[in-house]
Amino acid sequence: MSGVLSIAKTALDASQKKIANTANNLANINTKSFKKGRLIFQDTMYRKLKQSGVEVSDDQHAPMGITLGTGVKLVASEKIFTQGEIKKTSNPYDIAIQGRGFFKVSLGNGTVGYTREGNLKTDSSGNLVTANGLILEPGIRIPDDADNISIGKNGVVKFTRSGYTGEIIAGTIELTKFINPAGLEPIGENLYIETVASGVPIDGVPNENGFGYLEQGLEMANVNTVEELVELMEGQQHYQHVSQLFKVEKENSQTLLGNTR
């Protein structure tokens, strides 16, 4: 493959991935607690070639080497964990994290996942679960006849109950944070699992030790529509140009081949 063709191929590949990433961000504008994706590109290794010796006149520099680039590669795709806007709702079970941290949920078979999605509810046994029915860890149970549910900034869950005076504490919602949340692996449905890159999970309580606090409402996607649309347009235009380059270069290569006898 000609040098230009192989560079163009890396460009085509990268361009397609960029468009797919932008399209995914746009598709999830309304997904609660969605974190936008970003791609990390890097220019790949250069080759330095010396010019074959050609006599040059004295007032010119001796030719330096020429540097051949080899295109671009995708190093990684990452999620950007900037705060999404929190929109108030009338449901006391809707909570969002303002600041650092994730809710920990049980994925079944002994594994755990992490999420920012806090539209909670209770399951048939009264356990606090996420909208997908995943149980919060550590578990908190709320009886059927509980009233006036309130979840505090510090994660304390309280309720009242007829026949009992005052507020009863059901438990405290805990949070988990990571050294490098961008390194977490998204597994769909707003869930993430730890990886080597994310660092080990650090458990704690909201509103202390660098953890964020809980706020009533739901966290919106941190996607800016206008920004993403501009990226999409630019990405599509770039893809067109690269495709054209690829096509012409293929023709050039064939032309040259036709010329050798």
Binding site: S2, G3, V4, I7, A8, T10, A11, A14, K18, L39, I40, F41, Q42, D43, T44, M45, Y46, R47, K48, Q51, V54, V56, S57, Q60, P63, M64, G65, I66, T67, L68, G69, T70, G71, V72, V75, A76, E78, I80, T82, I179, N180, G183, V196, A197, S198, G199, I202, N209, G210, Q237, H238, H241, V242, L245, V248, E249, N252, T255, L256, N259
Partner: protein, 242 residues
């Protein structure tokens, strides 16, 4: 005549590769476009000068600034104006870059998106547990985990340098270094824009124009070769007839 046009083709090819590489890296943070320099070497000889070689050589990199795009990510940094960030590769080599998509690696060191360690006052920067912020002069402040109040303390300072860009050269790995290979001193006048990333400085329009020009050159050279090979054919036909 054929050799001259073949030479022409290969310099066109080099320029095309350069152009393609720039086009490919339009989304690479902090990328600096490659430049080439075409020059003509006249062949000295008896009588009239009828031959000239078209040569191309490395024109270095385009040091013009890319656009600093806001990302609102507090660990993203872009240099304000000229200058470079000093980084250390995993193998210990020290070099310079403009890319500032910072994060912590799993050992809590400050690195960029391709895994190079950001260097501070004394090498790699370790970030202990706490809330860190980067200031526009490169200072890293931290509110340590153990403190009760929000007292922030200075942890380190990102090593920013500002040599004359004409003394810098691109390495094989895409990072930059001084032609003299020296390690530079910190320049405290260099500032950052936090929450922004520098886009590639590749000019899309320029790439397209180059693409068209180079394609024309390619077609021209190809035509010259065609004419010459037909001329050869007809002269060998003439010989045959005789």
């Amino acid at each position: 005549m054929s050799y001259t046009s073949m030479e022409g083709l290969s310099t066109v090819k080099y320029s095309q590769m350069l152009n393609a590489n720039n086009l490919a890296n339009i989304n690479t943070w902090g990328y600096k476009a490659q430049k080439s320099q075409n020059f003509c070497v006249l062949i000295e000889g008896e009588g009239y000068q009828t031959k000239a070689y078209s040569q191309v050589r490395d024109g270095g990199f385009d040091s013009s600034l890319g656009r600093n795009e806001p990302t609102n990510n507090p660990l993203d940094i872009a240099l304000k104006g000229h200058g470079w960030i000093e980084v250390e590769k995993t193998n210990g080599e020290v070099a310079y870059t403009r890319r500032g998509d910072l994060r912590l690696n799993e050992q809590s060191f400050l690195v960029n998106g391709v895994g190079d360690y950001i260097r501070g006052e004394s090498g790699r920067i370790f970030i202990p547990e706490g809330d860190m912020t980067i200031q526009k002069d490169g200072t890293i402040n931290i509110v340590p985990l153990s403190s009760d109040n929000s007292s922030s303390m200075v942890l380190d300072r990102i090593k920013l340098v500002k040599p004359d860009d004409s003394m810098m050269v691109r390495r094989d790995d895409g990072l930059f270094e001084m032609k003299s290979k020296e390690i530079l001193n910190m320049d405290t006048s260099v500032n950052l824009e936090v929450g922004k990333l520098e886009k590639s400085n590749v000019n899309h329009i320029e790439v397209l124009v180059n693409f068209i020009n180079l394609q024309e050159k390619f077609n021209f050279n190809k035509k010259v070769m065609d004419v010459e090979s037909r001329a050869k054919e007809s002269s060998s036909n003439l010989i045959e007839l005789k």
